[in-house]
């Protein structure tokens, strides 16, 4: 099936031209970069399907229990939610600037922007902590201690189950993102990235933007159900 012609040669003579960041099973940096970004996009697609199951359950129950959804959603703090949305969008901005800095060879700026991204993410999680705490104090955590006034208590418990599952899963992804960003920041600090090779920063950026986009869906779906009071 194949004619084997010595085109790029075997292992021997290539070392002299080997970019230090080129892994041995790839032929060119470009191929390696394309593989890495394709891999990250495919991974993000799996994440869409992962969250998707919860979005499906949410959709079904919201259609079945619109009143419960409205009442339960009003128990969330819309100010904190909006603040967090702004914080996370801001962190996507700082992340994009980090990628830009790496792309243009600005090592120190890369470190600074990543650290800022982490800081904003940290603010988000602190706010989330206070929100969860308040839910706990109001007995809105599903389970044996759940209390909700009125006849919608059953479906409201389902709402809060989905609330904690969806925001909890999202927060978990953020925490994982922290660890990744810490590693990337360290690598940037050690001046590992060059304009020819900054792929880890780029794919971290993709991941972080995804985390942001999930929140942009979660905020209206969880916090903004019937704020105008149509379902009384």
């Amino acid at each position: 099936m194949g004619d084997a012609i010595a085109v790029r040669g075997g292992h021997g003579d290539a070392h002299a031209h080997h970019h230090p960041d080129l892994q041995h099973h790839f032929d060119t940096l470009e191929q390696q970069h394309e593989a890495a970004t394709l891999g990250m996009w495919l991974f993000l697609i799996t994440e869409v399907l992962f969250f998707g199951g919860l979005f499906l359950a949410y959709m079904l129950y919201r259609v079945w229990y619109p009143v419960a959804w409205a009442e339960a959603s009003r128990e969330l703090d819309i100010v904190l939610g909006a603040f967090n949305t702004a914080v996370l969008i801001g962190s996507s901005l700082t992340m994009a600037l980090a990628v830009r800095a790496a792309q243009t060879g600005k090592q120190r700026a890369t470190v600074v922007w990543i650290l800022l991204t982490m800081a904003l993410g940290f603010v988000f999680l602190v706010v989330k902590y206070f929100e969860y705490k308040e839910k706990f104090e109001h007995h809105h955590v599903p389970g044996p201690n759940f209390v909700f006034a009125g006849p919608e208590a059953g479906p409201a418990q389902i709402y809060f189950s989905l609330y904690f599952l969806m925001t909890g899963l999202h927060a978990t992804h953020m925490i994982i993102g922290f660890f990744i960003m810490a590693v990337i920041a360290w690598m940037a600090h050690k001046k590992r990235f060059t304009p020819e090779w900054y792929t880890p920063v780029e794919i971290t950026g993709l991941y972080w933007h995804f985390v942001d986009i999930v929140w942009i869906f979660l905020f209206p779906l969880l916090y903004l159900v019937d704020r105008a009071g149509h379902f009384a």
Binding site: V67, P151, G154
Partner: protein, 318 residues
């Protein structure tokens, strides 16, 4: 119906067996006829044939459509009981089947029915998923907590036939079995007369209706805090949110257990919930009582000895 299922089944078996035999024979014939021991021999360089590809895509697809359509036709009739059926209620719980006849007889793991008459079983589960399976009648439906399911059948032979639970439900899943006892009509009447005891199902429902004070809000006219329930079963009712819903077993059950879910237009959300206060059998008794509240065609409790229509007669007065 069972013979219709069998006919369909054997047709599909015949068609699939035909293809299985044809392809297997071809494979064996080719393996024998073109067999070689020379490792360097090669086959004919035939790459494909568009006409063949089209043929063996389209023909199987058309055959599939025929099978699908015939099967769908049988399925519709399996899922849709005829208008006149004997109605039985049942609840599944780990690990037994409880049957309630309209006349008030209760059976556990046994169901007495007359031969030659259509029987409809409406059932739910008290705990986990179960599945009511009568292999001799070729019918099955899952019992789901929170919902009613139905199966219907017409027994054509006297005798005893299996009842199996067909959805895994834990330790004694394979012990959750019973039998359908199919009797001559006369013997069935005798059996019915023999064991009523505490009154018919709808009488039990009426008792509950009064004991639980439902009658203080649900009067026989609309002057109470809740709507009248007379002549309501089987017709649509308008809801407060503008939509309308059919008053069937599921709606009556839902109104008892989650009354605010589908509020009737013109009434306040005042009804308390009876979730956790009533067993499924009690709910069934109440459902049957509401069904019996007809002012035409001889109102009052329906009995097992007459076939009941699934939709009540048209109301003549208000």
């Amino acid at each position: 119906m069972a013979s219709r299922v069998d006919n369909l089944y054997f047709f599909i078996v015949a068609v699939t067996a035909f293809f299985a035999v044809v392809v297997s024979v071809l494979v064996i014939v080719f393996a024998a006829k073109y067999h070689t021991k020379d490792p360097l021999a090669v086959g004919q360089p035939i790459h494909g044939s568009m006409p063949l590809e089209l043929a063996w895509s389209i023909i199987p697809f058309l055959i599939s459509i025929v099978i699908f359509a015939w099967a769908a036709d049988v399925f519709f009739d399996l899922q849709r009981p005829p208008d006149q059926t004997i109605e039985i209620y049942s609840t599944a719980k780990r690990w037994m089947w409880k049957f309630q006849h309209l006349d008030g007889q209760n059976e556990i793991n046994e169901l007495h029915v007359p031969v030659g008459r259509a029987v409809k079983v409406t059932f739910t589960s008290e705990d986990v998923l179960h599945s009511m399976f009568f292999p001799s009648f070729r019918v099955k439906a899952d019992a789901i907590p929170g919902r009613y399911s139905t199966v219907w059948f017409t027994a054509t032979k006297i005798g005893e036939f299996h009842l199996f639970c067909a959805e895994y439900c834990g330790t004694s899943h394979s012990g959750m079995i019973g039998k359908v006892v199919v009797m001559e009509p006369a013997a069935y009447q005798t059996w019915l007369a023999g064991g009523a005891g505490a009154g018919s199902l709808s009488q039990r429902g009426e008792q509950l209706f009064n004991d639980l004070a439902c009658n203080t809000c649900h009067r026989t006219d609309d002057t109470g805090r809740g709507p009248s329930l007379v002549n309501k079963f089987g017709a649509p009712v308008e809801l407060a949110n503008g939509t309308s819903v059919a008053v069937n077993e599921a709606y009556v059950r839902e109104s008892i257990l989650t009354p605010q879910a589908k509020l009737v237009a013109g009434f306040q959300p005042l009804m308390p919930t009876f979730q956790g206060l009533l067993s499924e059998e009690s709910v069934i008794a109440l459902v049957e009582y509401v069904k019996s509240l007809r002012t035409t065609g001889g109102g009052g409790p329906r009995t097992a000895s007459e076939p009941s229509a699934t939709a009540p007669a048209t109301p003549q007065n208000k």
